[in-house]
């Protein structure tokens, strides 16, 4: 209560002026400096005549009877005059001399009046009457031009009230001269209008947005702002009254109350949506509010305004509950709750101030709209940061997922999927497969086990990877893909052009020589075999683990052929099947190496060695010996071993370590010694 009083006191300081007061119906403003002190507020004791409309001519010659203004007459007379009834206020103001015209701001008078100045009717609001039937109520503050005036202002106000429970002058009146009045007046309504514009657009935007994203907190917040915009237009300076003159005042008054109730309703719902921990009975408050609604709609003004105090108590209680429950849950979401709480307290203080004004008839302006603006701006900040937060969360999730996706895709055999005609990983099912004729390229590091023996596992890993990293691009560049890594070997597949496969093999051999001459510290040799055949590509695994796999004889054959590269001393070997697919083999430096037997195969397979100047320094020599070797091989197959040996010897004279020639020479010698078996076909079989 102490805090409340202190706050109240503070607001008194802000919104009331202590300048000069009316005493016994007279205000001596002759020494009042308008330029310096601003508008003169009219408050104090004025003449008052109950139950009659006194003519302005004899308003000052009656017996003395005084009443305080502003504030309704029942309140100031301690119930002597009932709220409903008629009466006449009269007072005099002594003005300083001035060339300027005067302006009078007439605060709300309930609920109709005629204003006379120096006996002249200046303004009539609504229609005054002796009975309710003849009168028309209208409560709106007025800013009146009084014109140039003499030194004395005699003001008489005939009031009649048959509608509101509180009759008479409600709010402060102000008097001022032209030079200060206009600016003062413009300021009083400017702020209100900016606030109305503010609330209307925020309200509209959030309400309409809530239709887009089906978010209840936006909807309630939007509606809250909209009804408050209307309410702001209906209170204080009542800016909306000008455009709503065709509507009767009791209706406008009802509208004002309904706006207040619905604002409260939307506000509690908004808070409930925002903070799920707020007690659930809050959601049922709508039922309670509905009573106020119905009351306001169907009861006369003088009755439903009586509920106001109940409503005030309810709102204060509920506001306190909200504050307590927010503080209790403060730890759950510090940032959000502290912002909300700050905004809410600002709003709450404004609300209390206004309630106090209404309840205790303290003259002053309602400030809830201003504290509301702060509340709304902070709320807007919270809501927008929530929206942005959601967006950012989604966006971050997407970015995270994308990076995961990218990382995962590296494990996926993309080219493989192309042949399965699958666009994305989602389409892949277990058992998807396709049969296809493909080119195989098999690379194996010769005697890797021996090298690995000298290394620890980590070094082995990095050695292998450093090679694979260099080789992979060559395979991709020529349109192929790595099907699988098998320890120190790679199986790569190509779909289109055998020449490209060959180029890939040549590039890889070149690359290896470059790497060996670099600072690798290991002299690695690789054998490459090329083959062509029909394969089945498909997906195997179970629901948790899936893998692309190639099934088919050619994979075995390619692996086996590679084994011969060491025997024949060739870096690149092609199978006959592969050789036959070449468009123009004459462009190549190749050598037929004879036929080999591969276990599990029905036919023996012809092998060709490929040489290229890019990695083979002995190429010129090889071209020279090509003739000898080929003739030797021919003779070998014709079983003329003696001539064969001669040709092989010729070959070895030029290239002493021609491994194939040595192999065949030894074989020929053996055949010469042992004699030829009947089923001899000249096929080489590798011994394991």
């Amino acid at each position: 209560m102490k805090i409340y009083l202190t706050l109240l006191f503070l607001f008194f300081l802000c919104f009331t002026s202590w300048a000069q007061t009316l005493q016994e119906g007279i205000l001596d403003a002759r020494s009042y400096d308008f330029e310096k002190s601003g508008m003169l507020s009219l408050e104090g004791n004025v003449r008052f005549y109950w139950n009659e409309h006194v003519s302005p001519l004899d308003a000052f010659s009656r017996e003395d009877n005084f009443l305080t203004m502003p504030g309704h007459w029942e309140f100031h007379s301690d119930g002597k005059y009932p709220g409903i009834g008629i009466g006449t206020y009269a007072f005099q103001i002594l003005l300083p001399p001035s060339d300027e015209p005067w302006f009078l701001y007439v605060g709300d008078v309930s609920s109709s009046y005629n204003l006379f100045i120096n006996g002249k009717l200046i303004h009539s609001q609504g229609k005054i009457s002796q009975q309710k039937e003849n009168g028309i109520p209208w409560v709106e503050p007025q800013y009146l031009f009084l014109g140039h005036q003499e030194e004395l202002l005699e003001i008489v106000i005939q009031v009649s009230n048959f509608y509101h429970r509180e009759g008479g002058i409600w709010y402060l009146w102000y008097l001022g001269s032209e030079s200060i009045a206009e600016e003062w007046y413009r300021k009083t309504f400017s702020l209100d209008l900016i606030i109305i514009g503010f609330l209307t657009s925020i309200g509209l935007v959030f309400t309409l947005i809530s239709l887009l994203n089906r978010n209840y907190s936006s909807l309630f917040f939007g509606l809250f702002c909209l009804v408050l915009a209307i309410r702001t237009g209906l209170t204080n300076n009542r800016e909306l009254y000008d455009s709503l003159q065709m509507i009767s005042w009791p209706f406008l008054h009802r509208l004002e109350y309904i706006c207040m109730y619905s604002a409260f309703l939307f506000f509690t719902q908004f808070t409930c949506v925002l903070f799920s921990f707020i007690p659930s009975f809050f959601r049922k408050i709508s039922l309670f509010i509905a009573l106020f609604f119905i009351g306001t709609l169907f009861l006369p003004i003088k009755i439903y305004t009586g509920f106001l105090i109940v409503f005030h108590i309810t709102t204060v209680l509920i506001a306190l509950t909200i504050v307590i429950s927010l503080i209790r849950h403060f730890r759950e979401d510090r940032k959000r709750i502290s912002f909300f709480l700050m905004a809410f307290l600002l709003f709450f203080i404004g609300l209390l101030h206004d309630y106090a004004l209404v309840t205790f008839f303290i003259p002053g302006q309602q400030i809830v709209s201003y504290s509301l603006i702060l509340f709304v701006i902070i709320q807007m900040g919270i809501l927008s940061s929530r929206i942005v937060g959601t967006f950012l969360a989604v966006q971050n999730l997407t970015i995270h997922l994308e990076s995961l996706n990218r990382a995962f895709l590296n494990f996926l055999p993309h080219s493989f999927m192309k042949y399965l005609e699958k666009g994305s990983a989602n389409d892949i099912k277990l058992g998807d497969h396709v049969s296809k004729k493909l080119y195989l390229l098999f690379i194996d590091i010769r005697s890797f086990t021996e090298i690995a023996e000298r290394l620890n596992p980590e070094e082995t890993f990095s050695l292998l990877n450093s090679y694979w990293e260099k080789i992979g691009p060559h395979i991709r560049k020529h349109g192929g893909w790595v099907e699988r890594y098998i320890g120190d070997a790679i199986l790569a597949l190509f779909a289109i052009d055998p020449q490209e496969v060959l180029n890939a093999a040549i590039d890889i051999q070149k690359e290896i020589r470059e790497m060996n001459s670099g600072e690798m510290g290991h002299e690695l040799k690789m054998g490459i075999s090329l083959h062509y055949g029909s394969l089945i590509l498909g997906m195997v695994g179970d629901e948790k683990r899936m893998q692309a796999t190639v099934i088919g004889d050619p994979t075995t054959v390619a692996t086996q052929i590679e084994g011969y590269s060491k025997v024949f001393g060739t870096d690149i070997l092609m199978s006959e099947d592969f050789f036959l697919t070449l468009q123009d083999p004459t462009k190549l430096n190749y050598l037929f190496l004879g036929q080999v037997f591969i276990p599990g195969q029905k036919k023996e397979i012809g092998l060709y060695g490929v040489y290229d100047k890019s990695f083979d320094k002995e190429l010129p020599k090889r071209n020279i010996v090509k003739g000898y070797f080929e003739r030797g091989l021919l003779k070998f197959h014709q079983q003329q071993f003696k001539q064969a040996i001669k040709y092989f010897d010729e070959t070895l004279k030029i290239i002493p370590d021609h491994k194939t020639a040595i192999l065949y020479r030894n074989y020929s010698l053996k055949q010469q010694d042992e004699g030829v078996r009947k089923d001899w076909s000249g096929t080489i079989t590798m011994e394991y």
């Binding site: 900016i194 929206i387 990983a425 990877n465 695994g541």
Partner: protein, 693 residues
């Protein structure tokens, strides 16, 4: 003749209830009830004279309705002069209070009514240096006495391209005119508040979203705030009227600045919304326009800015065409929202046109621009909100798709291996990362799969394999293991926890196979056997390959041996073989039935490794048989290793009597007989030598 146009120009406005007759330099009013009345008369204008009341003019007047510099007068805009208007009242009233609303006059004036100095705005001077320019509408009050009122306005202008009166004066009953002015100002204030909050909101909002390259919100926020400011600067000039101490050059420059900035800003905003139809070059041009425009208004004196008003018009027209081109394209390509913006724009424009017509003719009508603008902005905000939520929805959709894709992709990713690499963020996997850990390796293959596959189509082959893998996979995972890879029909799995788990998985796999076979038998399919090899030791797991094509893999001698052991199951016709390493590590050894199979030596390595067959998991009859044979076989093997080959042979032959197809016995019997025939090599160790690649 020159003034023929002006002479006796009658405008009788009946709606006002008053009769008004305009004559050059004069207005006759009768029946006036005080309703606000525009004095759209031709004012007498004396060029280069500052007339004081009572002072006779020295030159012939021009008759003007507005500013003095026009085609007919051929006067320069800069200079000074005096406007004069005489109002003649047809009925004589003793006294009447009248309010005179003086609209913006460029650029300073002093007002005399009936010879009384009423003050004015700024300082009127005969040179630029003597004068002070202040432009804002202002209100004066006068008391009408008699039937004649003389209005005299001394004006000087050195700051604007149009000097003098911009709009006609308005007179009226003070309360009526005040409330009219209040209404107009109210609408502007309302609009200002509305735009200001929209601008603030989008400023905060857009700033937060800036890091995601969504600039449209921020641009819109700035645009709204500039427009809110502009609302206060034009028409009733609420801000200049409030702050009269700040002179016109500042307010005027600010007013032009808002246009020079807002127009390209709006174009940029539209460009950000429909990025398809604008390329970066145009954006840069717009930004340059914006900067140059704003520099121009800041640095150049106001008089030149207003002189170059045609430049501003050109500027607006070109950028507007550009905006319409983008909107048109967006509309043509059915971009959502383009129609929205266009409708809003058209409505706003039509309200502006409406107001122009209303103010230029004496038609009665409402002042609609604020409402049109308000409507346009609300539409824009809604559009932006929709735009935003659509984006968000797209993002959500995208992340959903990615999620499901990732779930699918995960099946290709060796998660467990990555787990051992200690990666918390899976997206940070690099090639070549590895870690060494003690694990148990399990290899499992289908015996005689090659024969089986020959009799199947490729379709059947894949279906069979997958159904088989689907039976085996869950068992491995259940026991804490994971599948490293499938190699043809083989499964390679790793068990990081304990060999016991690996073994119980292996046993369960065999049992599952028994069930699976009974199913196959009913369907008339071939009986299948699987062989499982288990080995334990330090295994290096990691990623191998290259950045674009990675595989998780395990490399180790332990793996290679396990793979060989799987083929050993074929040689010994065993279901499961575990190595000594596993055997030693088993905790639950007693619950299994096992049989020692001898020792194996890996080619190129010195040590040899003991092998044990696990008999559990076999079909019942075989299990019984094998269990009974085991002690005998082990005894024979002991003799064999002790080089007592005759004894060994005897027992082996005995075993063969019971089960003639016992492959292990056959293998060792053959070796015994070979030794007995050929004699013993020096380096004989009784081991089976295997090449391990």
């Amino acid at each position: 003749m020159k003034y023929l146009f002006f002479t006796l120009l009658l405008a009788i406005t009946f709606t006002l209830g008053a009769e008004v007759i305009f004559e050059p330099g004069k207005v006759q009013i009768s029946n006036w009830n005080g309703k606000p009345l525009k004095l759209e008369a031709s004012y007498s204008f004396y060029w280069n004279e500052l007339l004081s009341p009572g002072q006779g003019p020295s030159s012939e007047p021009f008759f003007l309705k507005g500013q003095w510099a026009n085609n007919k007068t051929e006067l320069p805009p800069s200079g000074y002069g005096t406007y004069q208007l005489i109002i003649e009242w047809n009925e004589i009233i003793e006294q009447q209070d009248i309010m005179l609303r003086v609209p913006s006059i460029s650029s300073s004036y002093k007002l005399y009514i009936d010879g009384i100095d009423k003050g004015g705005l700024g300082v009127v001077g005969k040179t630029l240096r003597d004068s002070l320019a202040i432009v804002a509408p202002h209100t004066f009050f006068l008391k009408r006495t008699g039937n004649r009122t003389e209005i005299l306005i001394q004006v000087s202008n050195y700051h604007d391209v149009s000097g003098g009166l911009w709009n006609p004066l308005v007179i009226g009953n003070p309360n009526l005119l005040l409330s009219q002015v209040k209404n107009i100002i109210s609408r502007d204030l309302f609009l200002c508040g509305a735009l200001l909050i929209i601008g603030l909101f989008f400023l905060i909002f857009g700033f937060n979203l800036l890091k995601f390259k969504s600039r449209e919100y921020l641009l819109f926020g700035i645009f709204s705030i500039i427009m809110a400011l502009r609302v206060l600067l034009v028409n009733q000039r609420i801000l200049p009227a409030l702050l009269l101490q700040i002179p016109w050059p500042f307010w005027g420059a600010l007013e032009y600045w808002t246009v020079y900035v807002a127009v390209p800003l709006f174009a940029l905003f539209i460009g950000e919304i429909f990025p398809r139809f604008i390329n970066w070059r145009y954006k840069i041009i717009l930004i340059v326009c914006l900067i140059l425009g704003s520099l121009f208004t800041i640095t150049v004196p106001i008089v030149y800015i207003t002189k170059l008003i045609s430049l501003l018009h050109l500027y607006i027209i070109i950028i507007s065409i550009f905006i319409f081109l983008i909107l048109g394209q967006a509309l043509y390509f059915k971009e959502s929202g383009a129609i929205f913006i266009l409708i809003g724009f058209v409505i706003m424009t039509s309200t502006i046109v409406n107001d122009l017509i209303v103010s230029n003719t004496s038609m009665q009508g409402r002042h609609l621009t604020p409402w049109g603008t308000f409507f346009f902005f609300i539409l824009l905000v809604l559009f932006l909100a929709g735009h935003f939520f659509k984006k968000q929805e797209m993002q959500t959709g995208l992340s959903k798709i990615l999620q499901s894709t990732n779930n699918n992709l995960l099946r290709f990713v060796p998660l467990e291996i990555l787990h051992y690499l200690g990666k918390s963020d899976l997206s940070q996997i690099e090639v070549g990362e590895n870690v060494s850990k003690e694990m148990t390796v399990l290899f499992c293959n289908i015996k005689s799969f090659n024969k089986l596959s020959e009799s199947m189509t490729s379709e059947d082959c894949f279906n069979f394999l997958n159904s088989y893998f689907n039976h085996m996979g869950p068992i491995i995972r259940k026991h804490g293991g994971f599948i490293d890879k499938f190699i043809g029909d083989s499964i390679m799995a790793l068990f990081p926890d304990s060999p016991d788990e690996a073994l119980s998985a292996a046993v369960e796999m065999q049992e599952t196979m028994t069930d699976y076979n009974s199913g196959r038998k009913k369907a008339g399919y071939q009986h299948l056997k699987i062989g499982i090899g288990l080995n334990s030791g330090i295994v290096t797991v990691g990623t191998i390959g290259e950045k674009e094509r990675m595989e998780g893999t395990a490399i180790s001698d332990v793996v290679n041996l396990a793979r060989r052991m799987e083929s050993l199951t074929r040689i010994f016709d065993a279901n499961m073989i575990i190595s000594e390493e596993v055997f030693r590590r088993l905790d639950m050894l007693q619950s299994y039935t096992f049989c020692f199979l001898g020792r194996v030596q890996v080619l190129g390595k010195m040590e040899n490794i003991g092998m044990y067959e696990i008999i559990d998991g076999c079909e019942n009859n075989i299990f019984e048989k094998k269990r009974n044979l085991a002690p005998k076989f082990e005894r024979a093997l002991l003799y064999y290793h002790l080089k007592q080959f005759e004894d060994a042979e005897k027992i082996f032959l005995e075993i063969l009597k019971d089960s003639p197809e016992n492959k292990a016995t056959l293998y060792y019997l053959k070796d015994c007989q070979k030794v007995l025939h050929q004699g013993l090599d020096e380096d004989w160790q009784g081991t089976l030598i295997m090449e391990v690649k």
